[in-house]
Amino acid sequence: MEKKTPILEMKGITKRFPNVVANEQVDLELYPGEVLALLGENGAGKSCLMNVLAGLYRADEGEIFIQGKRVEINSPRDAMLLGIGMVHQNFMLVDTMTVAENIILGLSDLPFVPDMGTVSKRIRELSERYNLQVDPESHIWQLSVGEQQRVEILKLIYRGAEILILDEPTAVLTPQESKQLNRIIHQMTREGKSAIFITHKMEEVIAFSDWVRVLHKGRLVTVKKTSQTNPQELARLMVGRDVLFRLEKKDRNLGGVALELKDVQAVDDKGLPALNGISLIIRSGEILGIAGVAGNGQKQLVEVLTGLRKTTGGKIRIFGEEKSNKSPLEIINTGVSHIPADRIARGIAGDMSVANNLAMKCYRKPPLAKKGILHPKRILDLANRMIELFHIHTPTPHTHAKFLSGGNIQKTILAREIDACRGLLIAAYPSRGLDVGATEFVRNQMIAQSESGTAILLISEDLEELLTVADKIAVLFEGHIMGIFRSNEADTERLGMMMTGMKEGIGELRD
């Protein structure tokens, strides 16, 4: 294997930003027909290195070779011509256009009036060959996240990409979709294409890749054959210590009812029913997990609870008070914190400093503000405290939030919401995009919060997360609660079946 010439080689890549060195003398090799997993803590420089390869950033030092020949990549177009394609953490599709239009968008050899019939035909051929089911005529806004990702991959294949870069592709996928992605990648490698794959999930590294490279603080620390390593070792190499993947949960006395939903109904943006009579109770000190495939009402559930969407029926009570259809501010003032599912769109103000983003929940009240006047020194103190506590990797507290790595943006939101929480935490996919160390930390934080009396609604696609963190698990399917289980009595298989809509009466828990 090692004797093959690498299809891609990066040598001594260094990339600096003001106050940080994102990559320092990094080497990388990729062989045809193989998958390389790129690992590292949040902020280790993975995305940055891939952006250099995809022509978005320019390295300050270093060389890139394709099939042994030195190349210069100055723009995404150059990368495309060299057969390099990247699927970014945030997709870059035009919502109002069709799949086919998005796929040919930006192609250089496009006739003035493209023949959409031929394009669609070719897309159908490709999607059949790689088992990437998408309808070329449907519009992007109609597609689920998983489908949009398939469009991104199809786009790269259509353009003849030989080297695919996938930046945390599975972070937003359901476990089933991840498996499917795995099959797609293998189909492509069988044809001699290669892929670089960034992930924080160790099982995926083992399942997907041939080689592993680990970055630590911008430097390459390890190169290993996947077959010669294991998840524990990889986690240790990344974080620099053992990660236990085990959490201590003490027995707690539950308090009064913090959140009560009675027959709550709501519709989605298209006016179709999304919540069809949800009833639940969470007590203070309790963590209730919501299991289910994304798109079964999770988004609408979070939105009605946080005042961002109107209910069409039923009642929501928070700490005993009627709170259906109240404004977000009224709900925040009762002590509710909200970790949104879409961190870039809802979670941060990218052009504001990390400090101001951390203050975005409690800037209204003392000590941060008095009579409407802010206290910048105290905002900075708060920020420094949270940056340290949550290990947010940022050059300075004044750095704009958009310059942080994906995982560190997530940590900024978590720090703000967990710190400001006074009684009820609505957490949607809190560990999405976090490295193993940060994931462990956040889960521990949630457990600590619940021990001090906070009620937590935890939405997650990761069954293991739900089983270890939550006390009870409710399965959500097509806007219905299929059943509620104690997590120490639940078994994965049954949960999995209920998530696909198979209702089962036994073992259900009434509270």
């Binding site: 210069e72 100055n74 060299l82 501010l329 709900i331 929940k361 409407g372 802010l374 704009h400």
Partner: protein
């Protein structure tokens, strides 16, 4: 050779200062070429322009006279722009403020103590400006009506309304047909502090400091910043977007309205033709060049005013065609605006030999 624009990954602090300066010099260069074509010596012309704007105390005060409305309206524009509310209606807000102040100055002295007329005129003028910005703001937050259209159309309404007044019902009977109202009573004059430069200068400077404080040190300013940056995040954090847009635009309109008040009570002392020479539009340029910073807006306003005054001067002195003054102002402004692009983008030259292909 290929030229590409590359979005800057980080906003360089240096670029924020250097780019406007650099583009200013580029514009001087471009204008110099134009002047040379007209067989005029650019150095002499520039010297004359500088002389015209800053060369003597009276000239300098005239520059200030033009700078004051640019400062006030510029502040109004930049507050709205920070919210990404594209208020291009400063011209109309200014005119409507001027109309309202005229109404008070001419007709309210019958029932107001004379010392109260000027403060009342200022207040009513600011309210009128606020109203003129409040209408598009309300239409935007309630009905999502595009503010570019509404603010622009309200400019014409206000300007034509002013014309109607000074040609019609408010026309000075003793004015020999001159389009304008009768002069204001003396107690309705805004005191002048140097030459024709009036108290509006003090208002503008104080207000710039106050606005800087509000934007950077208060809850309101914080909320405006979040809204301008990411409205969805603002909504998620319980920030009342509609209310904040309304507040910001009422303030913005009041500032432009005050510019109009100062023009009628401080300069012309009546409402007359030529109330504004496009100050409301030039204010947009002021706000952009100041990069939406209120303190910077004060200095930028002086610079632009100097171009206006200096341009007028050379046009007369050098015997250039009448339109030449305007052409020069345009030539000077255009590269400065283009320069703003370079605070966000940088240019890179790429040698074709190595780009995008195997070497």
């Amino acid at each position: 050779m290929r030229i590409v624009f590359e979005k800057r990954k980080t906003l360089s602090r240096k670029a924020i200062f250097l780019v406007p300066l650099f583009s200013f010099f580029i514009s001087l260069l471009l204008t110099a070429i134009l002047l040379a074509i007209f067989k005029t010596n650019p150095f002499i012309t520039y010297a004359a322009m500088f002389q015209g704007a800053f060369g003597s105390w009276p000239n300098f005060t005239e520059t200030l006279v033009k700078a004051i409305p640019l400062m006030l309206a510029g502040l109004g524009v930049l507050i709205a722009f920070r919210l990404k509310f594209w208020n291009i209606g400063a011209e109309g807000q200014l005119a409507f403020g001027g109309i309202a102040a005229t109404w008070v100055a001419l007709f309210w002295s019958s029932f107001l103590a004379s010392w109260m007329v000027l403060p009342t005129a200022i207040l009513v003028g600011m309210l009128a400006g606020a109203l003129w910005a409040g209408i598009p703001a309300l239409l935007k937050v309630r009905l999502k009506v595009d503010e570019v259209l509404t603010t622009l159309m309200l400019n014409y309404v206000a300007i034509l309304f002013a014309e109607h007044l000074y040609y019609g019902p408010w026309r000075d009977p003793k004015g020999f047909g001159f389009p304008g109202t009768p002069p204001f009573p003396e107690f309705a004059w805004l005191p002048r502090i140097a030459g024709r430069a009036h108290l509006g200068l003090v208002f503008a400077i104080v207000l710039a400091l106050v606005i800087w404080f509000i934007l950077n040190r208060t809850r309101l300013g914080f909320e405006l910043e979040v809204i301008g940056n990411n409205p969805s995040a603002a909504q998620t954090q319980g920030i009342k977007i509609a209310k904040n847009i309304m507040i910001a635009l009422l303030v913005a309109g009041a500032l432009s309205g005050l510019a109009g008040v100062c023009e009628v009570t401080g300069i012309s002392r009546r409402l007359q033709q030529g109330l504004s020479i496009g100050y409301g539009y030039t204010a947009i340029i002021v706000a952009w060049l100041a990069q939406l910073n209120p303190i910077a807006a004060i200095f930028v306003a002086v610079l632009i005013a100097a171009l206006l005054v200096g341009g007028d001067q050379v046009q007369m002195m050098m015997g250039l065609p009448a339109a030449m003054g305007l052409v020069m102002q345009g030539m000077l402004l255009f590269p400065m605006l283009a320069g703003a692009l370079f605070t966000e983008y940088k240019i890179r030259l790429i040698r074709p030999r190595t780009s995008g292909s195997l070497v």
